[in-house]
Every structure is written in C-alpha cells, then in structure tokens.
C-alpha cells in the first residue's frame, strides 16, 4: 500500500538552499499545501538525488558552495526538460534573472519573499503544465 492515498497525484518538489532556515520554513509550508517535499542544503547531494528521482518542481538558490544554482538549473533541465525550476536568490539583479530564464527557469523570485508567493508560483507552473 502506498503510504498515502493521493501520493500518485501529489506534485513532488525538491528544494535546494544552503541556508537551512529556508528549507526548514519552506518544507512545512509546501507540505501543508499538499505537496511532497524533499530539501537539501548541500548542492552535491541534491545533484545526486535528481539523478535518482524525477521531481515536478525544483526550487533552488543561486549562490552556493560547490555546484552553484545555475549549474544545478542547467543539469535539471538537461535530464527533465519538463521540470519547472524556480530560482530564489538574495542577489536579485535583472541580469541574473535574465540568465536564469535563458537557461530554462520557470520563475525567478527575489529573497526575502512571502510563502504565499512561492506557492503561487508553483501553482502557476502546474496550471501551465496542464494546458500543454
């Protein structure tokens, strides 16, 4: 028996941010909104995880030790072109936003942001995917 009745339909989200607080706060927020969530503060581990499992949505920070968010974004889109990637960053310049979009990001959100905003972004992605 699957652990929960509607797991099949549940949108799976991976969150990567080297600041633990961001993961700790986003996780229950998304869980409460009915999503399946895995969080990572180490980009290497997140990279290994996406090689194993397909996520519908990936939320990633940009500036991190080791593999940075841009590289992560590129790799995710390489393996799963359909996965929606949302970039969150505290250094929200227009240039960086442009680059993220060029590399296939679905949305770009500057930190700090409201929990509602990012859930909204995920919902928009789900809607856009349904249309396709």
């Amino acid at each position: 028996m699957p652990p929960c009745a509607n797991c099949q339909r549940q949108t799976q989200i991976l969150i990567l941010d080297d600041e633990p607080i961001v993961c700790k706060r986003l996780k229950p927020g998304f869980q409460k909104a009915g999503y399946g969530v895995e969080t990572f503060t180490d980009s290497g581990l997140a990279m290994a995880r996406i090689e194993q499992k397909r996520f519908d949505v990936v939320i990633t920070d940009l500036k991190m030790e080791g593999i940075d968010g841009m590289q992560f974004l590129v790799r995710v889109k390489q393996i799963y072109p359909d996965t929606g990637v949302i970039v969150i960053t505290g250094y929200g310049g227009a240039e960086i936003a442009k680059e993220s979009f060029k590399k296939g990001a679905f949305d770009f959100i500057a930190k700090p942001f409201k929990l509602g905003e990012i859930i909204e972004a995920v919902k928009r992605f789900e809607k856009s995917r349904k249309k396709d």
Binding site: P3, C4, A5, N6, Q10, D17, E19, I21, V22, K24, R25, L26, K27, P28, G29, Q31, K32, A33, G34, G90, K111, P112, F113, K114, L115, G116, I118, I119
Partner: protein
C-alpha cells in the same frame, strides 16, 4: 597669517556665518532629510514585517537590511550636520554606539559576552566603559546585582546565556504569559565561569579531556570524581556571594509571611532544549538561606557526574558549550503537585493531555517514586475529563522544619481520593495550553497548588513527541485543507504567524473587552494597543483595518498570538460565537476547528520563533525600532538619550524642522522681498517663502493675501480650510477632565502651546509646497507637488502629536487614516504618527484632495479629547465624510475606489 589666527577665523566662521547658506542648498538638505526619514521608517516596517512569519528570509537579509538602515541613519545625521550649527557630535556618538551593538549581534557576540567584558573591565578599573556597559545591561533591580544574579521578574527568553534555558523560559512564562511562578532569582552562568576559573577547574577539565580515551570508563569516572570533589569544596568568589546575599535580602524581604527557604534547581545551557538532559542535573529542595551556596555547589557538581559527562561526549557537545546557571525560588507548601503533558503519549485517535498528580511536593511524581493519580483531559476547550485512574497514594514528600525534605504518611481517607478537583483540572489544562500555544510545541509542565488554591508553574519544557505515522499525518493535513470550508483567504497582512482556533468574539467598544472569553478569537474593526489586555486569552486576532507596524502588531508578536490585520471584512463576515480556525502562515480563515492544522503546527520540525534567524532579527530590531523619545518637550529628548535608530531619526527630524523655522525668521529679515506673512481669516500665523512664482504680491509688500497665493497646493489647502467650514465648527470637547488637562499642561522647548501660533512656515513655488503647521499641539507636515503632468503629482501628509493620552491620540490617528483612505491615500500609522501618501492623480483631483486635507486639519484641531472610545472613530469619520461634501470638488469627484478601473488616473504601479 599665523595658525592661531586661522583657527580663530575658523571658529568665528563656525559660530557666526554658518546660517548664511544659500536657502536653496539649505532647503534641499531639508527635503533630503524628509525623504531619508521616510525611507528609514519604511525599512523599519519592512524588517518588522519579516517577523510575522509570512516571509522566508535568511541571515543574509538581516545583514543587508541592517547595513542599509545604518547607512541611511548615518547620512541623515550628515544632512543635519549641514543644516544646523548645533553640536551633533552626540548624535554621531549615539549612532556609533547603536551600530556597534548591532554589529556585535550580527557577529554572534551576545550580551553574555558583553557581561563578561564588563566584569573584566571593572576589574581593570575602566570606570567609564563599565558605566557605559552597565547602563546598557542594567534592568530593574537586577541592574545592581548583575552580572552574577538576575531576579525572575527581569528574565525573558533572551536571557538564555545568562540564566540557562529553564529559567529564561520560566521568566518568559511569568513576565510575558503572566502565569504565577514562585518568587526567586537565578545565579547566572557568569558566576559559574568565575567560580570555575577561580578554582582552576577548566584547566583540569581541558587537560584531562585532551588525552581521554572515550571508551575508558575508569578515566571518565576519575575525572568526574575530581571535578565533583573540587566543586563541592571550591571557593565561591566574594562578589558572587555578596550578589546572592543581596538577592536573598530582596526576596525574603518582600515575602515576609513565608519562611525563607528555597528550591534550588539547575538551568544549564541547552538543558530542556534540543538535548533535554532531563533528570541529569540535581535539584535541592527546602534550602535555608545559610546553605544556598552549598546547594549551588551541589547542583553545579551534578554537571560532572559520569552520566552527564558521557551524555555530552557522545553527542559531540564540547565542554566549552557547557555552563550552568542555578535558579533559587521560594518553596511552595504544596498541597498537590505533579506534571502534565499537553500531548499524551498514547496510541489513540483522541487528542488528549495527561496530568499526573499527588499530595505534597512534586519530586515524588517526577522521579516516579510514589504512586500518583493519572487524568486524561481533552486538548480542546472546555477540556472535558476523558478518564481518571486513581493511584494509591500512601506517602507524600513534605518540607522539613529547618530545611530538607521528609516522607510522611498520607491519612487513610486521602489515599484513594483524587487529588485534583474538576476546577483544578480545568485551570491546569488552560494554563498548559497557554504555554503550548506560546512555544508552539507540546509541553511538559511541572506545577503545584498551595493550600490556598494558587497554581504555580515550576517549570515547562518542550515535549518531544512526533506523530507515530508522519505519512498518515500528511494525508490528514492534505485532506483538511481540501475539506474545510474557507471563509476568506489572502486578505490583509500577517502580523504574527501560527494557527489558532476558537469561537469568534467581535468587539465593538472598550466595554465589551471585559467579557472576552478565554480561548476566543478576537475580531475587531481596528487594531488597538488596548487589546494587550486580552492577548493572553486570545487564540487569534483578526482586524478589518490596521497596519503590521503598529503597537498592536508588536504586542501580538510579543505574545505570539496568530494575527492578521487589514482583512477589510473580518468584522462583517464573522459573528460572535462562530467557530473558526486562523492559519496565519498560509493566511486562511477556515470555518470550524481544523484539528489537523493545530496538530501539524505543533509537530512540524522548526518553530520559526525559535530559529536563529528570527531571534537575531528580533534582537537587531530592538536596537532599531523602539521609540523612546516621544515628547520633544521633555528633558530627555536629547541626542545623548537616543537608544535606537528610531530615536535618532526622530531627534534629527525635530532639529531639522526647528532650524528651518529659525532660518525662515532670519530669512524674513534679510530677504524681505520674498518672505511674507499670510493675512488670512483663520489665524494660522503662517510665513510664506516663495522660491519661484508661488505668490503674486507686490515687491516689497510685507504681507500676503489669499488671492495672491499662486502656489496650487497652498491655495487648495487654504481654500479647503475656509470652504469646508471645519475650522469654526471644530467639535467641542465633551470630556472636561481631558480638556482641562489640555489647558493646564505646561509645555516647554520646541513644543508650541496653542497660544504660540506664529512659527508656521510654508515654502512654495507655483506647483510646490512644503508646509509645517503647528496648531495647538498637533503638528502637520504637508509636502506636495500639483501640476499638469500627472506623473509628477504627489501629496505627502504627516500628522503627529496631541495632548491627550496615547489611546485617544491613536484613535484620532485612526480617524485620520479612515478619512484619508476614503480619498485613496496610502496610509501608515505608527502609534500616533500618521503618514499618508498619494501619487499620480490628475491636477484637478489633487486639488480636491488637498482641500480635503485643509478640512481635515481644521476638523482634527481639538478632536483627540473627544475620542473616548473606539466607536468614536467610525462616528467622526462618517461625520467628516458627510460634512466634507460641502466642497464642490468632493461632490463631483467620488474617490477612486468607487470609480470604474478604466479611469485615466488608474495607476497600477
């Protein structure tokens, strides 16, 4: 020319010729101060918002925003430096002090370290720094006892480093939650450090641990034995002993009826936190005054039992992370005592709390030595009793005469009797839930009732229960969100996150607050600081109108009551008695009690309020937002007294306005041609400085008539004052006491009394006006541009002051907000300060709005004395809105919110 001569010249230049700055430069600086002032207020509001729980932010944000606000405050003072010849060195000193403190917080150096340096400096005899630091740290009576002892009434959650987790929490339970605790004090970790150092104990510990093989039990036992022996025979530094003595004098002195005996308990770093260390450290009961230090040694020695050493070693705890504070509280002559879990560790669908209780002192229950009664209670109010399992209580622990404890037989008729009445059970349940709600974690609460039915909380710590099946839990959350009816969502601003359920109580006036039921959800039209009275009883708060930066918001955060303001509709949609659940993280109001949300809330991994980021931001904000200098007339309104950036901002603003007015008077005499007094039917005492086509009076004229005012904003404002007829018919005071005080209160300094009109000033050009208007005790600033180009147009309105108490002034502030919002202004309220902004409307509309402001200035002149209740806000707001219809512009131009969005003035950005 010699050096001395040059210096002299420089001095005379400084003293006499400073004010002869070109007016335009001077005025530009002044406007820059105004703008920066607003920017700083916005940054403060922004930081405050982040505490609400709706935002996700990290440490980087705190560092960035702290740097930004520091920079703005620095530039603000620099701007003032150009404007005024007054000595502003004190302002810079205050700035540096505050900036330094913020830097220390950001670098992770907490007050405890400053305490340590304080003490070191004291030893070295640096009196100046000592006084500076003591002033910084001194609080209440404890100021004299610091750094070794702090009284319980001065503790809160921010004192973990000094007082240890247990007593910092107990302080919060007493001082924030208002629950009864036993009088007492805590001997701080500073005492621990000094004792350990003085007796060379850290050295021994360090040396031994370096070469220690973790598997070598013998070596660990030897270390434990050495440490314990040395602690039990160690010498307590004299300063600590005398601080303890003074604390004992205070406590025993103010509790004359009780014997002076104490319960002495451990309160270590991290104890009751992530690692509970539960039961590892010792407590000593019924300690006489003379043996307190001995008891302190006993408790401290328990830090180095073999078990405790091993526990820390295995969990990777470094010994440098270990420190022990020791709490000393008066003994309670407990009739009944015990423990309570707010989340019963039972495998059941039913959500229950469990109480264990027995006769006498509580140690019997905690240690499980004696039998106790076990009572299961519903988690939801009214906390129905689910089951009672009586224990056979044959013995009880009691205090022995002269100190120590002893076991006594329980009389036969009491052995099988349930030790708690229904009333006691309900009180316990309510109290424990209040603590759980605050910490957002299930709690393990130790309690006692004395013979006079007083309930005391002895300690509370988080209970680590996780749901047995997290997956099942997730499904219920998922389903709950789907199946519960949403009443409204996403409206207004979250002030404090969290989940709260209960019956709605809609308050209409001050009177009905008395009847606010325990555990209800407060619904009100406006935010108000007076709700602090019921915050401890409220499960959630919703208001129609209000800002996330006001007084009430601060209080809601302090008490951690889930709160959403500015919903627009709460008091209309919700009725008293409705059962609702507010999820103030997702910002949704559900019909009914959504149990799953409540349990999710207290079991999910991180409590936001306990996170490092939250606490850091809160501590930084303490140095930024509180406004201590509120009254410019008071003696303490000085640069040297500035304790926060807000204080500095306020002082700079006041000084800037003062020097602008002074300058205008000087300017008048020097440039008679362009500065004139306004001859007007209403005695405003207004001087008008024309900086470009703002007036059309003859050159050389000394006065100015209304017809000669060409400046569009000033003309509109003056016409608004006369045409609205509000000045003459200003409401008559109905409350004599308050009115009398407005007549008799004496003022000094810069705060002009009503008789002192005549220091008012307007700087104008054809499209621009900057107006400073003191009327009575009210102080208005209007800065506006009204021209043909829609995008350039703006009105900025700032209103402050008043003579009556802060409640009435805040009511008046909300009345003004009500009116201004009806005319599309974006309004912010900070206590009794209101800032309204309006941008990008057509010139015609702007003129109409400016006339309304004219009317409003007239209307509110004496109004605050009438604001005796919240219901007066709506009353006067409606009264004003009706009477202002007399203005042609208002009749013809309905406020934008009632117009179709195709309106040419509509501005989405």
């Amino acid at each position: 020319m010699g050096f001395a001569n040059g210096l002299k010249r420089l001095f005379s230049l400084r003293l006499t010729s400073r004010p002869v700055l070109p007016f335009t430069v001077f005025f530009k600086k002044f406007r820059s101060i105004l703008e920066r002032n607003n920017l700083i207020l916005e940054l403060m509001a922004d930081m405050g918002d982040k505490l609400g729980g709706e935002y996700i932010f990290d440490i980087q944000y705190i560092k960035d925003v702290a740097a930004k606000i520091s920079e703005q405050v620095f530039k603000l003072i620099s701007d003032l430096c150009v404007m005024t010849r007054e000595d502003i060195a004190e302002l810079f000193a205050a700035f540096e002090r505050i900036q330094f403190e913020i830097g220390e917080e950001l670098a992770g150096r907490r007050a405890v370290l400053m305490q340590r340096s304080l003490e070191r400096e004291q030893k070295r005899g640096k009196k100046g720094l000592f006084r500076f630091l003591s002033a910084l740290l001194g609080r209440g009576d404890s100021g004299n006892l610091a750094p070794f002892v702090i009284l319980l009434e001065d503790l809160d959650g921010d004192f973990e480093e000094q007082a240890g987790n247990k007593f910092a929490n107990l302080g919060e339970i007493r001082n924030t939650l208002g629950l009864s605790t036993l009088d007492g004090f805590v001997v701080t970790t500073n005492a621990f450090f000094d004792f350990m150092e003085a007796n060379g104990l850290f050295e021994i510990l360090e040396r031994t641990l370096k070469g220690l093989d973790q598997a070598d039990e013998g070596a660990l036992e030897a270390l434990s034995a050495t440490m314990r022996k040395r602690i039990l025979s160690g010498t307590m530094p004299r300063e600590v002993v005398s601080a303890i003595d003074r604390a004992l004098d205070i406590i025993c002195g103010r509790n004359p009826g009780r014997g002076c005996f104490f319960a002495v308990r451990s309160s270590g770093w991290g104890e009751d936190g992530e690692f509970s260390f539960a039961g590892q450290y010792e407590s000593v009961l019924n300690v006489s005054r003379a043996t307190i230090v001995e008891a302190w040694r006993e408790v401290t020695a328990s830090v180095y039992t073999v078990e405790a050493l091993r526990y820390r070693l295995h969990r990777g705890y470094r010994e440098s992370e270990t420190a022990m504070a020791v709490g000393c509280q008066l003994m309670v002559e407990a009739e009944v005592s015990g423990a309570m879990y707010t989340y019963a560790p039972i495998a059941s669908e039913q959500e229950a709390m469990v109480i264990s209780g027995a006769w006498g002192l509580g140690a019997a229950v905690a240690s499980g030595i004696a039998e106790s009664d076990t009572i299961f209670v519903d988690r939801m109010p009214p906390h129905r009793i689910l089951s009672i399992e009586p224990g056979r209580k044959t013995t009880k622990m009691i205090g022995k005469q002269g100190g120590g404890t002893v076991w006594a037989d329980v009389p036969a008729e009491f052995q099988e009797k349930i030790c708690l009445s229904d009333d006691y059970i309900e009180r316990l349940a309510r109290t424990a839930v209040a603590i759980e709600k605050y910490y957002r974690r299930p709690q393990d609460v130790e309690w006692a009732f004395d013979g006079e039915a007083n309930l005391y909380i002895l300690q509370a710590r988080p209970l680590n229960v996780r749901p047995d099946h997290p997956e099942r839990h997730m499904v219920t959350i998922d389903n709950a969100a789907l199946s519960s009816r949403v009443i409204f969502s996403g409206r207004g601003q979250v002030v404090q996150g969290g989940v709260g359920s209960g019956k709605v109580y809609v308050t209409r006036s001050d009177e009905d607050l008395k009847d606010f039921p325990f555990g209800a959800v407060l619904v009100a039209r406006y935010t108000s600081p007076k709700y602090s009275r019921i915050m401890r009883k409220a499960r959630a708060i919703l208001t129609d109108i209000g800002s996330a930066t006001g007084h009430m918001a601060t209080l809601a955060r302090e008490y951690r009551v889930p709160t959403v303001v500015d919903t627009g509709i709460a008091s209309r949609v919700l009725k008293t008695g409705d059962e609702v659940t507010l999820d103030a993280i997702a910002n949704v109001v559900y019909a009914g009690t959504v149990k799953e949300l409540n349990s999710f809330e207290i079991t999910h991994e991180e409590v936001f309020e306990e996170s490092r980021e939250y606490r850091l931001l809160k501590r930084v904000l303490k140095k930024v937002t509180p406004l201590n200098l509120v009254d410019p007339a008071s003696e303490s309104f000085r640069a040297a007294r500035c304790r926060t950036y807000h204080d500095i901002t306020r002082v700079v603003h006041e000084k800037a306005v003062e020097s602008l007015i002074e300058l205008s008077e000087g300017y008048q005499s020097r440039h008679a041609g362009r500065s004139r007094r306004l001859e007007f039917s209403i005695p405003l005492g207004l001087t008008v400085i024309d900086i470009g086509k703002g007036t059309s009076s003859a050159p050389g004229a000394e006065s100015l008539r209304l017809e000669e005012v060409e400046s569009a904003p000033l003309k509109a404002l003056l016409e608004g004052l006369t045409e609205s007829g509000m000045w003459e018919t200003a409401p008559v005071a109905v409350d004599l006491g308050s009115f009398m005080s407005s007549l008799t209160r004496t003022f000094s300094g810069s705060m002009a009394g009503p008789e002192q009109v005549g220091r008012n000033l307007a700087v104008v050009s054809d499209n621009y006006m900057n107006l400073h208007l003191r009327l009575g005790y009210h102080f208005n600033i209007v800065d506006a541009y009204i021209g043909e180009e829609l995008n350039d147009n703006y009105i900025y309105f700032r209103f402050l002051g008043g003579v009556s108490n802060i409640e009435r002034r805040s009511r008046r502030a909300r009345l003004i907000a009500c009116v201004m919002e009806s005319f599309d202004f974006r309004v912010e309220i900070h206590g009794d300060l209101i800032v309204g902004r309006l941008k990008k409307l057509s010139g015609r509309r702007m003129v109409g709005r400016m006339k309304v402001i004219g009317g409003l200035i007239g209307y509110t002149r004496q109004l605050d004395v009438n604001m005796t209740g919240d219901e007066m806000i709506d009353f006067y707001c409606a009264d004003f809105l009706e009477r202002i219809q007399v203005l042609e512009e208002v009749r013809e131009d309905a406020p934008m919110c009632e117009l179709p969005t195709a309106d040419p003035d509509f501005d989405s950005g």
